[in-house]
Symmetry: C2
Amino acid sequence: MIDRLAILGVGLLGGSLALAARARGVARRIVGVGRNPDRLGPALAAGAIDHATTEVRAAVRDADVVVLAATVAANDAWLPRVWEAAPATALVTDVGSTKRSIARVAEALRVGRREVQFVGSHPMAGSERSGYGAARADLFEGATVVVTSTDASEPRAVKAVVGLWEALGARVVTLDPDAHDRAVAAISHLPHLVAWALADAVARAEPGALDVAGAGFRDTTRIAASDPRVWRDILLANADALGPALAAFRTALAELESLVATGDGAALEAALARIKAFRESVR
Amino acid sequence: MIDRLAILGVGLLGGSLALAARARGVARRIVGVGRNPDRLGPALAAGAIDHATTEVRAAVRDADVVVLAATVAANDAWLPRVWEAAPATALVTDVGSTKRSIARVAEALRVGRREVQFVGSHPMAGSERSGYGAARADLFEGATVVVTSTDASEPRAVKAVVGLWEALGARVVTLDPDAHDRAVAAISHLPHLVAWALADAVARAEPGALDVAGAGFRDTTRIAASDPRVWRDILLANADALGPALAAFRTALAELESLVATGDGAALEAALARIKAFRESVR
C-alpha cells in the first residue's frame, strides 16, 4: 500500500492509474496535478483523486510515489522540479512512450541528489482517445507494461515499480531504455506513422472511397485519430530509433509490391502466409 | 421474397448470406454449392441451407437468384457455367472484392445469351476470419455493400440486387466497376498490403518487440491475418488500381518522415491534425 501517491497529469493514463489504484486499494491518498485546475474537476468529483493542485512542488513534498503522466516533453521538464521537492525516500516513475530521454534527465539529477529513485514505465495501454474522460479503472488489467531499468537503478526501486503495475493487474516486461525505444519504434511508433500515411493516401488518391470504408480501413487507421501534439513529441523524441524500423518497413512493402507487380502468385501467397504466421504469434 | 436462392461458396460471406436470408425470411429455399461436400455439412446441419451439392449446373437450374461467393478467381471461372445452366429469368450477383474482371466475363456471356442478368456486389463486411465457422446472420446489418452497375445493366436487375442487400440490413452504394476497383484499391487493398508490410517490418527489424505489442499494433495489423490465397487473388486482380494508391501512400509517408527527420514539430503536428480530421470523417 502506497501512503501518498502524486500523479502529474490526470489524462487517459494518469486518470486510469488513479482509478485503478483507488479500485484496488493500492494507494491511501492520491494527489492529482495539472496545469489547468478545471481539467482536474471530473477526477476529483469522481473520487479518483483526493486533492487537485497546479503546484508540483507542494504535491510531491510528502509523496512516497510520484508518477509523471503528461506528454514525454512535459515529463522531462517536470522531473527536475519533482527531484528537488520530493522527499529523500521518494520513488519516481513515468508513463511516457519513449524512455532514453527521461532516463538521461534522471541520471543527471542523480549526480546532485542520489537518494531519490527514478525507474521508467511505459504501459502499452494507450488509445487514440485522450483525456480523463477516456480513463478506465481496468485499463491496465492484462496490459503489458514495460519497466525500464538501467545499471544505475536500485533493485529495490525496480521491484517497487514492477510491484505497482502488477498490483494494478498488468504484466510487466523489463528492458533497458535503449532496447525499449527500439522495440516501441517498431511495434508502436512505426504503426502510428504508417496509419497516418494510410489515411492521408486515401485523402490524396481517392477521398470519396471513405464512403465505402469497411472494418479493415477503420482498424488499420484507428490510431491516426491519436492526439497530434502528443504524437509530434513521441515521434520527434524517438526519430533515430524510428529510422531503422521505417527502413525495414520500406523493404518489406517493396518486396510485396514487386510480387504483385510481376504477378508471381505463388511467391506472393507464400510471403503473405509467412507474415500471417508471424503476426499470429502475437500474444 | 426469393423463391430459390443458390449460393456458390458457403464461407464467411456466402454462409452469412444464407443465415441472414433465412433469419429475415428473404428466401424460401436455399441451395449451397461447394467443391468439398464435407465443408457444407455445418451449414446444412444449422439449417442455413436446405440442400448441399457440388454440382453447379444442377444447383442453379431452377434458381431465381444466384450468388457467387467464392474467391474472385473461382467466381470468374464459375460464371460461364452458371450462365449456361440458369433459367432465362435468373439474376446473378457475386460478393467478390474486385469488380472489373467479373463484369467483363458477364459482358462477354451476354453476347450469347442476353436474358440472364448479372449485377455485381461487394459487401464491405469481410474479416480476417474465413469459412462458414465465422459466418453470422447479422454480418450485413449496417454494413456498406457496393453494387456495381454498368451501362449494360438493366435497371430492374440493379434494383433487385440493391433490394436484396437492403432486405439483409445493408446500406447500398452504387458505383461502376472501374470506380469501385479504384476505391477499394485505396480503402481496402492498400491497407491490407500495408498491414502485411508492417507486420513483416517488425519480423525483420525487431521480432522481440512482438512481446510488448499493444492494441495499436494489433489493430493496424489485424487484417494481416487474412487468408493468403484469397488475398493473393484480390491483389493480383486489382494490381493496376493498387499502383496509384501505393504511390499516394509512399508520398504521404515520405512527407511525414521528412517532417520527423528535420524535427519540424509545428509542421508535423499540423499534418497529423489535418489527417486526423480527414480520418474522423469516416462513417
